[in-house]
């Protein structure tokens, strides 16, 4: 009797486990979001019809901490990493170390169709696609229409320059929303200015550490330094500039002194939310305009910042083929559009922007798409972390930047760090 029960129980237990055991389980390490990636994981699991099951595991909030965790695990050949949501600047480092499984040709072809130029660049390393473009972020110029009008500017129709924006803020005694905090956000700003001026922070991104050449000691580097120095020294960024990140810029922009701000599109749902909560007037939201990032050189297209998330497949995964199948499912344009609407993260695919729901939720969708086509990634070198921190070390605080000496100092310092002669 007892034996019989045990056998039944055992059989029931096996029965419950059996189907799960056959299905390869893919672990997808995601950056924290509003739950959209977990939803996509469920969706693609269902569509796979038993070919694989995706389980989501959430990474730390900061992009730098995400990199630290993934790099350490991959260095230890962690086979549990099947799929990863990767911040683009760190992709070359992982690709160079051989931590990413090569993208199969058919998948590469499929996932690079109709993808914005900036996003495609950011997903590659050395002319080769090493990750699957998922969503792509870019910064826009946000402004108060009333302020722009008073300055005689209409950024929505005619692109504006940094000098015009600075002049408008100075004349009306207002502050500019830029990110001067000693953190990644500041590198994003510096890089966008250098790229918009026609230069590059790193000229030889694929070189070995000792041979990396920087492009800061150029007219472009000096021009970037001049703009930052002017905003910093004249107090145009407000007293909070040296500690200002994207969120602080937004709250400053929402205040009385706000005028123009460069920031990611998350500010739009955030401002809408504030209106719903009653902390912001609807009339304020009606006054908000958006345009492509300001130009450094008048008449030359700006190179706005590029960010976002691409999907990488771990080199030590036991299910590389299934993982790439899953990645191709996740990034299908309709999924990207749904993710944009649910989580506010813009698609890398240009066709996803034609989705009617996207157009309705994000009236600036077309500007984002245009911005992504113009966007330039941050230096794509395996030593990005050193370059970025070296920039922050030498260019912070904004008020101390000197166009005559700062680019030179930054170059000397970063080169010495890369050669292993200096601490960072």
């Amino acid at each position: 009797m007892i034996a019989g029960t045990a056998v039944v129980a055992l059989a029931a237990g096996l029965g419950a486990c059996a189907p799960a055991d056959d299905t390869p389980v893919l672990t997808w390490y995601t950056n924290p979001d509003a739950g959209g990636q977990a939803l996509l994981a469920q969706q693609c699991t269902q569509e796979a019809g038993g070919a694989y099951r995706i389980e989501v595991s959430v990474l730390p909030r900061e992009a730098s901490s995400q990199r630290e965790q993934l790099a350490r695990r991959l260095a230890a050949k962690d086979s549990s990493i099947d799929l990863m949501s990767l911040d683009p600047p760190f992709i070359p480092e992982l690709a160079n170390a051989g931590f990413l499984a090569p993208v199969p040709e058919d998948v590469a072809e499929e996932v690079s169709q109709d993808v914005a130029e900036g996003a495609l660049l950011g997903a590659s390393w050395g002319d080769e696609l090493v990750t699957v473009p998922f969503w792509a972020n870019t910064q826009l110029l946000w402004y108060k229409k009333s302020v722009a009008e008073a300055a005689g500017l209409d950024p929505a129709t005619t692109p504006v320059t940094w000098d015009q924006v600075i002049g408008a803020a100075r004349d009306q005694d207002l502050t500019l929303g830029v990110q001067g905090i000693k953190a990644e956000a500041y590198t994003v700003w510096i890089n966008a200015l250098v790229e918009s001026a026609g230069g590059h922070v790193v000229e030889t991104p694929e070189a070995a550490a000792e041979d990396v050449e920087l492009g800061l000691e150029s007219e472009a580097g000096q021009e970037a330094a001049r703009i930052i120095a002017e905003i910093g020294a004249d107090g145009l960024g407000g007293a909070g500039l040296p500690t200002q990140d994207e969120n602080a810029s937004l709250s400053q922009f929402q205040g009385d002194s706000g005028s123009f701000m460069v920031n990611w599109p998350f500010v739009w749902p955030a401002m809408q939310g504030a209106v719903e909560d009653g902390t912001l007037e609807q009339s304020f939201l009606d006054d908000v305009g958006w345009a492509v990032y300001p130009q450094v050189v008048e008449g030359e297209d700006a190179a706005p910042p590029y960010g976002g998330i691409n999907l990488g497949v771990g080199a030590f995964s036991r299910h590389v083929d299934e993982a790439y199948e899953a990645a191709a499912c996740i990034v299908r344009p309709e999924n990207q559009a749904a993710y944009f609407v649910s989580d506010g993260n813009p698609p890398a695919s240009t066709v996803a922007y034609d989705d009617p729901e996207v157009q309705e939720t994000f009236p600036m969708a077309d500007v984002i798409r245009q911005s992504l086509e113009q966007a330039a990634p941050r230096p794509q070198t395996p030593y990005y972390n050193e370059v970025s921190q070296g920039l922050q070390e030498t260019w912070h605080a904004p008020r101390d930047v000197d166009p005559g000496s700062t680019p030179q100092q930054a170059t000397d310092f970063i080169v010495a760090v890369l050669r292993g002669e200096r601490l960072l």
């Binding site: 350490r72 260095a75 000693k182 007293a239 500039l241 500690t243 050193e386 921190q389 601490l423 960072l424």
Partner: protein, 334 residues
């Protein structure tokens, strides 16, 4: 002097009582010399048996990582460039010791340590006196109230202080704008000295209870008859403090200073949360973290950790050899 004697007597008394406990049940005649040495040996064996597991665990969790760090520090080793790993001897130490960044952060760390310990010693002593003298009904409440900051997780307290002083969401600038130099436009975390002020203030707030608790234990050791005698002789409060109380609790004070100094030297959380090293506020622990965790430079980072460990050893050495801190004396064992 007298404390030590009292301490010693009570220590010996209690030890022999417990030690004799098991022996009492043994069938034996009057205890002679060899018998005692048997017991001493048994006691020593018991001691090893009791302390042994802890000792092994200590070796496993401290000695092993320390030796591993020393070994790793001799290599050029970057986690994301496994093929470039190479033995470079003391090369990492050469880079670190020749770099102004290291010396600057060593200076900042030492500065924070000296200031926090000095301020905490004064504040902690005052709090200990209050706790010591409080009427019995208030004592429990008072001790709990004073200990609350120490019970808060450092990261949480660092965030609380950070948000209180931050320029966009903080209230300090609004509340204290009547103080010269403080205005709504003061960005505490944009300058070296203002950043250090907040870092040190939060550290003091958080750990003063610890030092006051150690000092309270020291105060309790001062025999009250000595104080009363001094009072009868007409000594003022200040004279009693200087000549009776402080000399009698010197051991407790020195231990409190040593513990806090070692603790303060390893400061990390406050700096990491508030400035992350901006405006020249990088401390040694943060430098080690940034190098080995952030840059994944295991070799260079290990070398910084080893140097940090050497600094801690030097502080211990100075305290024990020069200031003659007596760890056993403070516990009343000698």
């Amino acid at each position: 002097m007298s404390t030590e004697i009292t301490g010693a007597t009570s220590g010996v008394a209690s030890r022999s009582t417990t030690g004799a406990g098991p022996d009492r049940g043994a069938p034996a005649g009057p205890g002679g010399r060899p018998r005692r040495s048997d017991r001493a040996r048994a006691e020593a064996r018991l001691g090893w048996l009791l302390a042994g597991p802890a000792f092994v665990v200590m070796l496993a969790v401290t000695a092993y990582p320390i030796l591993q760090a020393v070994y790793e520090s001799l290599f050029r080793n970057r986690l994301t460039a496994p093929d470039d790993r190479a033995f470079i001897g003391l090369g990492n130490y050469g880079v670190i010791l020749g770099d102004p960044v290291f010396w600057k952060s060593l200076g900042v760390t030492t500065g924070i340590m000296l200031v926090t310990v000095a301020v905490e010693l004064v504040l902690g002593f005052a709090l200990a006196l209050i706790m010591h003298k409080a009427v019995t009904q208030l004592r429990g409440l008072l001790r709990t109230a004073i200990l609350v900051p120490y019970g808060i997780i450092t990261v949480v307290s660092a965030f609380a202080w950070f948000y209180a002083f931050s320029i966009d969401s903080g209230y300090v600038n609004q509340w204290f704008d009547w103080v010269p130099g403080i205005s709504p436009d003061l960005n505490w975390f944009a300058g070296t000295w203002t950043s250090l002020f907040v870092i040190i203030a939060s550290e003091v707030w958080k750990t003063t209870p610890f030092i006051s608790l150690l000092l309270l234990a020291g105060l309790a050791q001062v025999p009250s008859d000595l104080e009363e005698a001094a009072q009868v002789d007409g000594a003022t409060w200040w004279q009693r403090m200087k000549r009776v109380v402080l000399p009698n609790m010197k051991a407790a004070i020195m231990v409190a200073v040593l513990f806090r100094a070692l603790d303060a030297f390893r400061i990390f959380d406050n700096v990491f949360i508030m400035t992350n090293g901006a405006n020249d506020t990088t401390v040694l622990s943060l430098l080690a973290y940034r190098t080995s965790i952030g840059r994944l430079e295991i070799g260079l980072g290990s070398a910084i950790s080893v140097l940090l460990f050497v600094c801690v050893l030097i502080i211990c050495f100075i305290a024990i050899k020069i200031f003659k801190v007596d760890l056993a004396g403070a516990r009343g064992e000698k």
